[in-house]
Protein backbone atom coordinates (compact mmCIF):
# COMPACT_ATOMS: atom_id res chain seq x y z
CA UNK A 1 0.00 0.00 0.00
CA UNK A 2 1.30 3.44 -0.82
CA UNK A 3 2.44 5.55 2.14
CA UNK A 4 0.05 8.32 1.05
CA UNK A 5 -2.89 5.89 1.11
CA UNK A 6 -2.08 4.78 4.66
CA UNK A 7 -1.57 8.39 5.69
CA UNK A 8 -4.92 9.54 4.29
CA UNK A 9 -6.80 6.58 5.73
CA UNK A 10 -5.39 7.23 9.17
CA UNK A 11 -6.47 10.86 9.04
CA UNK A 12 -10.09 10.03 8.24
CA UNK A 13 -10.19 7.23 10.76
CA UNK A 14 -9.16 9.74 13.40
CA UNK A 15 -12.27 11.81 12.68
CA UNK A 16 -14.88 10.59 15.17
CA UNK A 17 -17.60 12.72 13.62
CA UNK A 18 -17.07 10.98 10.31
CA UNK A 19 -17.35 7.54 11.90
CA UNK A 20 -20.47 8.57 13.83
CA UNK A 21 -22.36 9.95 10.84
CA UNK A 22 -21.37 7.28 8.35
CA UNK A 23 -21.35 4.11 10.45
CA UNK A 24 -23.09 4.50 13.79
CA UNK A 25 -25.99 6.72 12.75
CA UNK A 26 -27.17 4.54 9.83
CA UNK A 27 -26.94 1.48 12.09
CA UNK A 28 -29.06 3.22 14.75
CA UNK A 29 -31.56 4.36 12.09
CA UNK A 30 -31.85 0.77 10.86
CA UNK A 31 -33.04 -0.37 14.25
CA UNK A 32 -35.17 2.73 14.82
CA UNK A 33 -37.04 2.73 11.50
CA UNK A 34 -37.74 -0.99 11.71
CA UNK A 35 -39.27 -0.50 15.17
CA UNK A 36 -41.34 2.46 13.91
CA UNK A 37 -42.75 0.45 11.03
CA UNK A 38 -43.44 -2.43 13.39
CA UNK A 39 -46.01 -0.18 15.07
CA UNK A 40 -47.82 0.77 11.82
CA UNK A 41 -50.85 -0.97 10.35
CA UNK A 42 -49.00 -3.15 7.89
CA UNK A 43 -46.51 -4.18 10.56
CA UNK A 44 -42.89 -4.81 9.82
CA UNK A 45 -42.61 -8.00 7.90
CA UNK A 46 -39.21 -9.38 6.94
CA UNK A 47 -39.50 -7.56 3.62
CA UNK A 48 -39.93 -4.20 5.34
CA UNK A 49 -36.95 -4.91 7.59
CA UNK A 50 -34.81 -5.85 4.60
CA UNK A 51 -35.84 -2.73 2.67
CA UNK A 52 -35.01 -0.50 5.64
CA UNK A 53 -31.63 -2.16 5.98
CA UNK A 54 -30.83 -1.65 2.29
CA UNK A 55 -31.85 2.02 2.49
CA UNK A 56 -29.65 2.59 5.50
CA UNK A 57 -26.71 0.81 3.88
CA UNK A 58 -27.12 3.19 0.97
CA UNK A 59 -27.48 6.19 3.29
CA UNK A 60 -24.28 5.36 5.17
CA UNK A 61 -22.33 4.71 1.98
CA UNK A 62 -23.47 8.00 0.40
CA UNK A 63 -22.34 9.92 3.47
CA UNK A 64 -19.01 8.10 3.64
CA UNK A 65 -18.23 8.54 -0.05
CA UNK A 66 -19.07 12.25 -0.01
CA UNK A 67 -17.44 12.92 3.36
CA UNK A 68 -14.17 11.20 2.48
CA UNK A 69 -13.65 12.88 -0.87
CA UNK A 70 -14.78 16.43 -0.11
CA UNK A 71 -11.72 16.64 2.15
CA UNK A 72 -9.79 17.57 -0.97
CA UNK A 73 -11.20 21.06 -0.48
CA UNK A 74 -9.89 21.25 3.09
CA UNK A 75 -6.44 20.07 2.07
CA UNK A 76 -6.30 22.66 -0.64
CA UNK A 77 -7.40 25.44 1.72
CA UNK A 78 -4.75 24.57 4.31
CA UNK A 79 -2.02 24.75 1.68
CA UNK A 80 -1.14 21.09 2.22
CA UNK A 81 -1.72 20.13 -1.41
CA UNK A 82 0.53 22.98 -2.48
CA UNK A 83 3.20 21.80 -0.06
CA UNK A 84 2.83 18.22 -1.28
CA UNK A 85 3.26 19.46 -4.81
CA UNK A 86 6.87 20.51 -4.09
CA UNK A 87 7.78 17.02 -2.89
CA UNK A 88 8.37 14.05 -5.21
CA UNK A 89 4.88 12.65 -4.41
CA UNK A 90 3.23 12.60 -7.86
CA UNK A 91 0.17 14.80 -8.27
CA UNK A 92 -1.83 12.05 -9.97
CA UNK A 93 -1.48 9.77 -6.98
CA UNK A 94 -2.97 12.44 -4.71
CA UNK A 95 -6.27 12.21 -6.56
CA UNK A 96 -6.05 8.47 -7.09
CA UNK A 97 -5.51 7.92 -3.37
CA UNK A 98 -8.52 10.08 -2.50
CA UNK A 99 -10.67 8.00 -4.85
CA UNK A 100 -9.34 4.78 -3.33
CA UNK A 101 -9.87 6.03 0.22
CA UNK A 102 -13.41 7.13 -0.65
CA UNK A 103 -14.21 3.72 -2.12
CA UNK A 104 -12.72 1.87 0.82
CA UNK A 105 -14.55 3.93 3.43
CA UNK A 106 -17.97 3.08 1.99
CA UNK A 107 -17.37 -0.50 3.12
CA UNK A 108 -17.67 -0.01 6.91
CA UNK A 109 -21.23 1.41 6.77
CA UNK A 110 -22.28 -1.29 4.30
CA UNK A 111 -20.92 -4.09 6.45
CA UNK A 112 -21.98 -2.68 9.84
CA UNK A 113 -25.55 -1.93 8.72
CA UNK A 114 -25.79 -5.37 7.09
CA UNK A 115 -24.69 -6.97 10.38
CA UNK A 116 -27.23 -4.83 12.24
CA UNK A 117 -29.97 -5.99 9.87
CA UNK A 118 -28.97 -9.58 10.18
CA UNK A 119 -28.51 -9.85 13.92
CA UNK A 120 -30.73 -7.14 15.40
CA UNK A 121 -33.58 -7.06 12.89
CA UNK A 122 -33.57 -10.66 11.79
CA UNK A 123 -33.10 -10.10 8.08
CA UNK A 124 -32.37 -13.45 6.45
CA UNK A 125 -30.71 -13.63 3.06
CA UNK A 126 -28.78 -16.38 1.31
CA UNK A 127 -24.96 -15.95 1.47
CA UNK A 128 -24.90 -15.13 -2.26
CA UNK A 129 -27.51 -12.43 -1.76
CA UNK A 130 -25.53 -10.84 1.07
CA UNK A 131 -22.41 -10.82 -1.10
CA UNK A 132 -24.35 -9.46 -4.09
CA UNK A 133 -25.96 -6.73 -1.98
CA UNK A 134 -22.71 -5.48 -0.50
CA UNK A 135 -20.89 -5.85 -3.81
CA UNK A 136 -23.48 -3.92 -5.80
CA UNK A 137 -23.73 -1.09 -3.28
CA UNK A 138 -19.96 -0.92 -2.98
CA UNK A 139 -19.41 -0.57 -6.74
CA UNK A 140 -22.32 1.82 -7.04
CA UNK A 141 -20.82 4.15 -4.43
CA UNK A 142 -18.38 5.27 -7.15
CA UNK A 143 -21.04 7.77 -8.23
CA UNK A 144 -20.89 9.52 -4.84
CA UNK A 145 -17.10 9.38 -4.75
CA UNK A 146 -17.16 11.23 -8.07
CA UNK A 147 -19.72 13.72 -6.74
CA UNK A 148 -17.66 14.35 -3.58
CA UNK A 149 -14.52 14.97 -5.64
CA UNK A 150 -16.43 17.38 -7.84
CA UNK A 151 -17.75 19.33 -4.85
CA UNK A 152 -14.38 19.30 -3.10
CA UNK A 153 -12.66 20.54 -6.20
CA UNK A 154 -15.20 23.21 -7.08
CA UNK A 155 -16.01 24.71 -3.68
CA UNK A 156 -14.12 26.62 -1.02
CA UNK A 157 -13.50 24.95 2.32
CA UNK A 158 -16.53 26.31 4.18
CA UNK A 159 -18.92 26.01 1.26
CA UNK A 160 -17.76 22.44 0.69
CA UNK A 161 -18.33 21.48 4.31
CA UNK A 162 -21.87 22.89 4.21
CA UNK A 163 -22.64 21.50 0.78
CA UNK A 164 -21.84 17.96 1.89
CA UNK A 165 -24.44 18.15 4.66
CA UNK A 166 -27.10 19.58 2.36
CA UNK A 167 -26.35 17.35 -0.62
CA UNK A 168 -26.23 14.26 1.60
CA UNK A 169 -29.57 15.14 3.19
CA UNK A 170 -31.25 15.89 -0.15
CA UNK A 171 -29.94 12.67 -1.68
CA UNK A 172 -31.17 10.68 1.33
CA UNK A 173 -34.54 12.35 1.88
CA UNK A 174 -35.65 12.90 -1.71
CA UNK A 175 -34.01 9.73 -2.99
CA UNK A 176 -36.24 7.69 -0.70
CA UNK A 177 -33.57 6.42 1.68
CA UNK A 178 -35.36 7.60 4.83
CA UNK A 179 -38.97 7.25 3.72
CA UNK A 180 -39.77 4.80 0.92
CA UNK A 181 -40.54 6.47 -2.41
CA UNK A 182 -43.86 4.57 -2.57
CA UNK A 183 -45.12 6.85 0.21
CA UNK A 184 -44.15 10.02 -1.75
CA UNK A 185 -46.78 12.10 -3.60
CA UNK A 186 -46.52 11.91 -7.41
CA UNK A 187 -44.41 15.01 -7.98
CA UNK A 188 -41.80 14.11 -5.39
CA UNK A 189 -41.67 10.59 -6.71
CA UNK A 190 -40.77 11.93 -10.16
CA UNK A 191 -38.06 14.04 -8.55
CA UNK A 192 -36.64 10.99 -6.76
CA UNK A 193 -36.15 9.38 -10.17
CA UNK A 194 -33.84 12.25 -11.05
CA UNK A 195 -31.45 11.49 -8.16
CA UNK A 196 -28.60 8.98 -8.20
CA UNK A 197 -29.43 7.90 -4.65
CA UNK A 198 -32.80 6.46 -5.75
CA UNK A 199 -31.23 4.30 -8.46
CA UNK A 200 -28.43 3.34 -6.12
CA UNK A 201 -30.93 1.97 -3.57
CA UNK A 202 -32.81 0.28 -6.42
CA UNK A 203 -29.76 -1.80 -7.31
CA UNK A 204 -29.45 -2.75 -3.62
CA UNK A 205 -33.11 -3.78 -3.34
CA UNK A 206 -32.77 -5.95 -6.44
CA UNK A 207 -29.61 -7.59 -5.11
CA UNK A 208 -31.28 -8.26 -1.74
CA UNK A 209 -34.13 -9.95 -3.60
CA UNK A 210 -31.61 -12.15 -5.37
CA UNK A 211 -32.14 -10.45 -8.72
CA UNK A 212 -29.78 -8.74 -11.09
CA UNK A 213 -29.90 -4.93 -10.77
CA UNK A 214 -32.28 -3.37 -13.33
CA UNK A 215 -30.55 -2.14 -16.48
CA UNK A 216 -32.18 1.27 -16.10
CA UNK A 217 -30.75 1.71 -12.59
CA UNK A 218 -27.26 0.61 -13.63
CA UNK A 219 -27.43 2.88 -16.67
CA UNK A 220 -28.48 5.84 -14.53
CA UNK A 221 -25.62 5.27 -12.07
CA UNK A 222 -23.04 4.93 -14.83
CA UNK A 223 -24.43 8.09 -16.44
CA UNK A 224 -24.32 10.10 -13.21
CA UNK A 225 -20.78 8.90 -12.48
CA UNK A 226 -19.60 9.89 -15.95
CA UNK A 227 -21.18 13.35 -15.67
CA UNK A 228 -19.76 14.03 -12.19
CA UNK A 229 -16.31 12.79 -13.18
CA UNK A 230 -16.32 14.83 -16.39
CA UNK A 231 -17.35 17.96 -14.49
CA UNK A 232 -14.62 17.29 -11.91
CA UNK A 233 -12.03 17.07 -14.69
CA UNK A 234 -13.34 20.33 -16.19
CA UNK A 235 -13.08 22.13 -12.84
CA UNK A 236 -9.64 20.64 -12.24
CA UNK A 237 -8.39 22.00 -15.56
CA UNK A 238 -9.48 25.51 -14.68
CA UNK A 239 -8.31 25.37 -11.11
CA UNK A 240 -5.21 23.43 -10.10
CA UNK A 241 -5.13 21.80 -6.66
CA UNK A 242 -2.15 23.90 -5.74
CA UNK A 243 -4.05 27.18 -6.09
CA UNK A 244 -4.62 28.68 -2.69
CA UNK A 245 -7.67 30.79 -3.38
CA UNK A 246 -9.65 32.17 -6.29
Amino acid sequence: MSPLFVFQLRRVARNRQFLFFTVLLPALFTVFFTRVFAGTAGGAGPERAAATMVSMMAYGAVGAALGATVRLSFDRASGWLRQLRVTPVPQTSVVAVDVAVGMLLTLPPLVVVALTGRFLNGVHLAPGQWAGLIGVLWLGSAVFVALGLLLGWALEEKAAGGAIGIVGTVLAALGGLWVPVELFPGGLRAMAHGLPSYWYAETGRAAAAGELPPVLAVGALVGFTAVFAALAVLVARRRPLTAVAG
Binding site: P3, R10, R11, G79, W80, R82, V86, T87, P88, V89
Partner: protein, 294 residues
Protein backbone atom coordinates in the same frame (compact mmCIF):
# COMPACT_ATOMS: atom_id res chain seq x y z
CA UNK B 1 30.60 21.74 -16.75
CA UNK B 2 28.85 22.41 -13.47
CA UNK B 3 25.21 23.32 -13.96
CA UNK B 4 23.71 26.43 -12.43
CA UNK B 5 21.42 25.78 -9.48
CA UNK B 6 18.91 28.08 -11.07
CA UNK B 7 18.69 29.68 -14.48
CA UNK B 8 15.78 31.71 -15.82
CA UNK B 9 15.76 33.23 -19.27
CA UNK B 10 13.19 35.82 -20.25
CA UNK B 11 10.86 34.55 -17.54
CA UNK B 12 7.52 36.33 -17.82
CA UNK B 13 4.49 35.57 -15.66
CA UNK B 14 1.09 37.22 -15.80
CA UNK B 15 -1.66 37.12 -13.20
CA UNK B 16 -4.61 38.06 -15.36
CA UNK B 17 -3.79 41.53 -16.66
CA UNK B 18 -0.99 42.12 -14.18
CA UNK B 19 2.55 41.51 -15.30
CA UNK B 20 3.99 39.90 -12.15
CA UNK B 21 7.39 38.93 -13.52
CA UNK B 22 8.73 40.80 -16.50
CA UNK B 23 11.38 39.23 -18.72
CA UNK B 24 13.53 38.03 -15.83
CA UNK B 25 17.01 36.70 -16.47
CA UNK B 26 18.51 35.27 -13.32
CA UNK B 27 21.37 32.84 -12.88
CA UNK B 28 22.28 31.45 -9.51
CA UNK B 29 25.33 29.24 -9.21
CA UNK B 30 25.68 26.24 -6.95
CA UNK B 31 26.48 27.02 -3.36
CA UNK B 32 25.36 30.65 -3.52
CA UNK B 33 23.18 32.17 -0.82
CA UNK B 34 20.90 34.65 -2.52
CA UNK B 35 18.23 36.96 -1.16
CA UNK B 36 15.40 38.06 -3.41
CA UNK B 37 14.60 41.39 -1.85
CA UNK B 38 11.76 43.73 -2.64
CA UNK B 39 8.50 45.25 -1.47
CA UNK B 40 5.21 43.36 -1.66
CA UNK B 41 4.16 42.89 -5.25
CA UNK B 42 7.73 43.00 -6.54
CA UNK B 43 7.39 39.53 -8.07
CA UNK B 44 9.47 37.55 -5.57
CA UNK B 45 6.84 34.95 -4.70
CA UNK B 46 5.79 34.61 -8.31
CA UNK B 47 9.39 33.96 -9.28
CA UNK B 48 9.72 31.29 -6.59
CA UNK B 49 6.43 29.68 -7.71
CA UNK B 50 7.55 29.63 -11.33
CA UNK B 51 10.89 28.08 -10.39
CA UNK B 52 8.99 25.32 -8.56
CA UNK B 53 6.64 24.77 -11.48
CA UNK B 54 3.60 25.84 -9.45
CA UNK B 55 2.51 28.20 -12.19
CA UNK B 56 3.06 28.32 -15.90
CA UNK B 57 5.06 31.24 -17.27
CA UNK B 58 3.63 33.26 -20.15
CA UNK B 59 7.07 33.23 -21.74
CA UNK B 60 10.67 32.31 -21.06
CA UNK B 61 12.28 29.26 -19.55
CA UNK B 62 13.32 27.99 -16.13
CA UNK B 63 16.01 25.39 -15.50
CA UNK B 64 16.66 24.01 -12.07
CA UNK B 65 19.97 22.18 -11.88
CA UNK B 66 19.61 21.68 -15.59
CA UNK B 67 16.09 20.25 -15.42
CA UNK B 68 12.58 21.52 -16.00
CA UNK B 69 10.96 22.60 -12.69
CA UNK B 70 8.55 19.66 -12.39
CA UNK B 71 11.33 17.16 -13.14
CA UNK B 72 13.64 18.79 -10.60
CA UNK B 73 10.93 18.56 -7.93
CA UNK B 74 10.21 14.92 -8.74
CA UNK B 75 13.92 14.10 -8.68
CA UNK B 76 14.16 15.56 -5.18
CA UNK B 77 16.58 18.34 -6.21
CA UNK B 78 14.56 21.11 -4.58
CA UNK B 79 13.20 21.72 -1.11
CA UNK B 80 10.84 24.61 -0.56
CA UNK B 81 9.08 26.61 2.10
CA UNK B 82 6.13 28.28 0.44
CA UNK B 83 4.35 31.41 1.54
CA UNK B 84 1.00 29.66 1.17
CA UNK B 85 2.19 26.17 1.97
CA UNK B 86 0.56 24.36 4.85
CA UNK B 87 0.20 21.24 6.90
CA UNK B 88 -2.69 18.77 6.82
CA UNK B 89 -5.24 18.73 9.63
CA UNK B 90 -6.04 15.57 11.61
CA UNK B 91 -2.47 14.35 11.38
CA UNK B 92 0.52 14.13 13.67
CA UNK B 93 3.77 15.90 12.85
CA UNK B 94 5.68 12.62 12.77
CA UNK B 95 3.25 11.11 10.26
CA UNK B 96 3.56 14.07 7.91
CA UNK B 97 7.34 14.03 8.16
CA UNK B 98 7.44 10.27 7.58
CA UNK B 99 5.28 10.59 4.48
CA UNK B 100 7.44 13.30 2.93
CA UNK B 101 10.74 11.62 3.83
CA UNK B 102 9.51 8.38 2.26
CA UNK B 103 8.97 10.17 -1.05
CA UNK B 104 12.71 10.88 -1.43
CA UNK B 105 15.23 8.32 -2.60
CA UNK B 106 17.82 9.51 -0.10
CA UNK B 107 16.08 11.19 2.84
CA UNK B 108 17.86 13.11 5.56
CA UNK B 109 18.38 10.78 8.55
CA UNK B 110 15.46 11.39 10.90
CA UNK B 111 17.33 12.18 14.11
CA UNK B 112 19.61 14.71 12.45
CA UNK B 113 16.72 16.27 10.51
CA UNK B 114 14.66 16.71 13.67
CA UNK B 115 17.59 18.33 15.44
CA UNK B 116 18.44 20.62 12.51
CA UNK B 117 14.87 21.85 12.08
CA UNK B 118 14.44 22.15 15.83
CA UNK B 119 11.29 20.05 16.07
CA UNK B 120 12.40 17.66 18.81
CA UNK B 121 9.41 16.81 20.99
CA UNK B 122 6.90 17.79 18.30
CA UNK B 123 6.71 14.50 16.38
CA UNK B 124 3.80 13.15 18.42
CA UNK B 125 1.97 16.48 18.40
CA UNK B 126 -1.24 17.08 16.45
CA UNK B 127 -0.59 19.46 13.57
CA UNK B 128 -3.63 21.49 14.64
CA UNK B 129 -2.03 22.12 18.05
CA UNK B 130 1.16 23.76 16.74
CA UNK B 131 2.02 27.42 17.25
CA UNK B 132 2.89 29.60 14.26
CA UNK B 133 6.62 29.30 14.86
CA UNK B 134 6.45 25.53 15.40
CA UNK B 135 4.50 25.21 12.17
CA UNK B 136 7.23 27.04 10.27
CA UNK B 137 9.86 24.75 11.76
CA UNK B 138 7.90 21.67 10.70
CA UNK B 139 7.60 23.15 7.20
CA UNK B 140 11.37 23.67 7.26
CA UNK B 141 11.83 20.00 8.16
CA UNK B 142 9.64 19.05 5.18
CA UNK B 143 11.72 21.30 2.91
CA UNK B 144 14.93 19.66 4.13
CA UNK B 145 13.59 16.09 4.20
CA UNK B 146 15.25 15.08 0.92
CA UNK B 147 18.62 16.76 1.60
CA UNK B 148 18.01 18.92 -1.47
CA UNK B 149 20.96 20.69 -3.11
CA UNK B 150 18.71 23.71 -3.70
CA UNK B 151 16.54 25.30 -1.04
CA UNK B 152 13.88 27.87 -1.96
CA UNK B 153 12.35 29.83 0.89
CA UNK B 154 9.50 32.28 0.41
CA UNK B 155 9.23 34.67 3.38
CA UNK B 156 10.21 31.79 5.69
CA UNK B 157 10.37 33.75 8.93
CA UNK B 158 7.10 35.67 8.67
CA UNK B 159 5.47 33.73 11.53
CA UNK B 160 8.55 33.58 13.77
CA UNK B 161 9.51 35.62 16.78
CA UNK B 162 12.91 37.26 17.08
CA UNK B 163 14.57 34.27 18.70
CA UNK B 164 13.03 31.91 16.15
CA UNK B 165 14.35 34.04 13.33
CA UNK B 166 17.85 34.04 14.72
CA UNK B 167 17.89 30.26 15.12
CA UNK B 168 16.43 29.85 11.65
CA UNK B 169 19.10 31.90 9.94
CA UNK B 170 21.85 30.18 11.90
CA UNK B 171 20.56 26.91 10.46
CA UNK B 172 20.54 28.42 6.96
CA UNK B 173 24.13 29.58 7.29
CA UNK B 174 25.15 26.08 8.38
CA UNK B 175 23.39 24.58 5.37
CA UNK B 176 25.05 27.08 3.07
CA UNK B 177 28.41 26.20 4.60
CA UNK B 178 27.73 22.56 3.71
CA UNK B 179 27.24 23.56 0.07
CA UNK B 180 23.46 23.89 -0.14
CA UNK B 181 22.29 26.61 -2.48
CA UNK B 182 19.88 28.79 -0.53
CA UNK B 183 17.56 31.23 -2.29
CA UNK B 184 15.12 33.17 -0.16
CA UNK B 185 12.55 35.86 -0.75
CA UNK B 186 12.20 38.52 1.92
CA UNK B 187 11.21 42.11 2.42
CA UNK B 188 13.46 42.46 5.46
CA UNK B 189 16.60 44.30 4.53
CA UNK B 190 18.36 43.05 7.68
CA UNK B 191 17.74 39.41 6.80
CA UNK B 192 19.09 39.84 3.30
CA UNK B 193 22.07 41.70 4.69
CA UNK B 194 22.86 39.22 7.45
CA UNK B 195 22.47 35.96 5.59
CA UNK B 196 22.92 36.37 1.85
CA UNK B 197 26.21 36.75 0.06
CA UNK B 198 24.31 38.08 -2.93
CA UNK B 199 21.22 40.26 -2.98
CA UNK B 200 18.88 40.55 -5.94
CA UNK B 201 16.54 43.51 -5.52
CA UNK B 202 13.27 43.19 -7.41
CA UNK B 203 10.62 45.79 -8.13
CA UNK B 204 7.74 45.67 -10.56
CA UNK B 205 8.66 42.16 -11.69
CA UNK B 206 12.19 43.14 -12.72
CA UNK B 207 15.65 43.00 -11.21
CA UNK B 208 16.64 46.53 -10.23
CA UNK B 209 19.89 45.64 -8.52
CA UNK B 210 22.00 42.53 -8.25
CA UNK B 211 25.22 42.26 -6.37
CA UNK B 212 27.05 41.36 -3.19
CA UNK B 213 25.20 42.46 -0.06
CA UNK B 214 28.00 44.89 0.87
CA UNK B 215 27.28 46.85 -2.29
CA UNK B 216 23.61 47.13 -1.44
CA UNK B 217 24.43 48.33 2.03
CA UNK B 218 26.54 51.20 0.71
CA UNK B 219 23.84 52.08 -1.79
CA UNK B 220 21.33 52.60 1.01
CA UNK B 221 23.70 54.00 3.61
CA UNK B 222 21.94 57.37 3.46
CA UNK B 223 19.61 58.53 6.22
CA UNK B 224 16.67 60.80 6.47
CA UNK B 225 16.39 63.80 8.82
CA UNK B 226 12.85 65.03 9.51
CA UNK B 227 11.60 67.99 11.47
CA UNK B 228 8.83 70.54 11.51
CA UNK B 229 9.52 73.79 9.68
CA UNK B 230 7.42 76.71 8.48
CA UNK B 231 6.52 76.98 4.79
CA UNK B 232 8.80 78.81 2.43
CA UNK B 233 12.11 77.85 4.03
CA UNK B 234 14.39 75.69 1.85
CA UNK B 235 17.25 73.48 2.98
CA UNK B 236 18.92 72.47 -0.27
CA UNK B 237 22.22 74.08 0.67
CA UNK B 238 22.66 72.38 4.02
CA UNK B 239 25.84 70.21 4.05
CA UNK B 240 25.33 66.54 3.20
CA UNK B 241 21.80 66.92 1.89
CA UNK B 242 21.14 64.96 -1.29
CA UNK B 243 17.43 65.67 -1.56
CA UNK B 244 14.64 67.49 0.22
CA UNK B 245 10.91 66.96 0.30
CA UNK B 246 8.04 68.46 2.28
CA UNK B 247 4.79 66.98 3.46
CA UNK B 248 2.59 69.56 5.15
CA UNK B 249 4.66 71.14 7.91
CA UNK B 250 7.26 68.37 7.92
CA UNK B 251 10.50 68.57 5.99
CA UNK B 252 12.40 65.40 5.08
CA UNK B 253 16.04 65.73 4.12
CA UNK B 254 17.90 62.81 2.58
CA UNK B 255 21.50 63.01 3.62
CA UNK B 256 24.75 61.19 3.09
CA UNK B 257 26.19 62.64 6.29
CA UNK B 258 23.81 63.04 9.19
CA UNK B 259 26.30 64.76 11.45
CA UNK B 260 27.26 67.42 8.91
CA UNK B 261 23.63 68.06 8.09
CA UNK B 262 22.62 68.48 11.74
CA UNK B 263 25.60 70.76 12.45
CA UNK B 264 24.71 72.85 9.42
CA UNK B 265 21.09 73.17 10.52
CA UNK B 266 22.04 74.12 14.06
CA UNK B 267 24.62 76.64 12.81
CA UNK B 268 21.87 78.26 10.73
CA UNK B 269 19.73 78.52 13.88
CA UNK B 270 16.96 76.29 12.51
CA UNK B 271 14.61 75.20 15.33
CA UNK B 272 14.56 71.40 15.07
CA UNK B 273 11.05 70.70 16.40
CA UNK B 274 9.95 67.04 16.23
CA UNK B 275 13.41 66.00 15.05
CA UNK B 276 13.67 62.45 13.77
CA UNK B 277 16.62 60.67 12.17
CA UNK B 278 16.27 57.26 10.63
CA UNK B 279 17.92 54.89 8.18
CA UNK B 280 16.69 54.46 4.65
CA UNK B 281 13.78 52.05 4.38
CA UNK B 282 13.74 49.29 1.83
CA UNK B 283 11.41 51.38 -0.28
CA UNK B 284 13.97 54.19 -0.17
CA UNK B 285 16.66 51.70 -1.11
CA UNK B 286 14.68 50.32 -4.02
CA UNK B 287 13.88 53.82 -5.19
CA UNK B 288 17.53 54.80 -4.86
CA UNK B 289 18.60 51.75 -6.80
CA UNK B 290 16.05 52.31 -9.54
CA UNK B 291 17.14 55.93 -9.77
CA UNK B 292 20.81 54.98 -9.80
CA UNK B 293 20.29 52.54 -12.63
CA UNK B 294 18.86 55.13 -14.99
Amino acid sequence: MPLDALDTTGLTVRHGDVLAVDDLDLRIGRGETVALLGPNGAGKSTTVSAVLGLLRPAAGSVRVLGRAPADAVRAGCVGAMLQHGGLPGEARVGEVLHLVRRSYADPWPLGDLVATAGIGGLLGRDVDALSGGQRQRVLLALALAGQPPLLLLDEPTSAMDVEGRRAFWTTMRDLAARGTTVVFATHHLEEADAVADRVVVMAGGRVVADGPSAGLRSAVAGRTVRFSAPDGVTFDRVPGVTGASRLGGTVALATADVEATLRGLLADGVPLDDLEVRGASLEDAVLALVGGGR
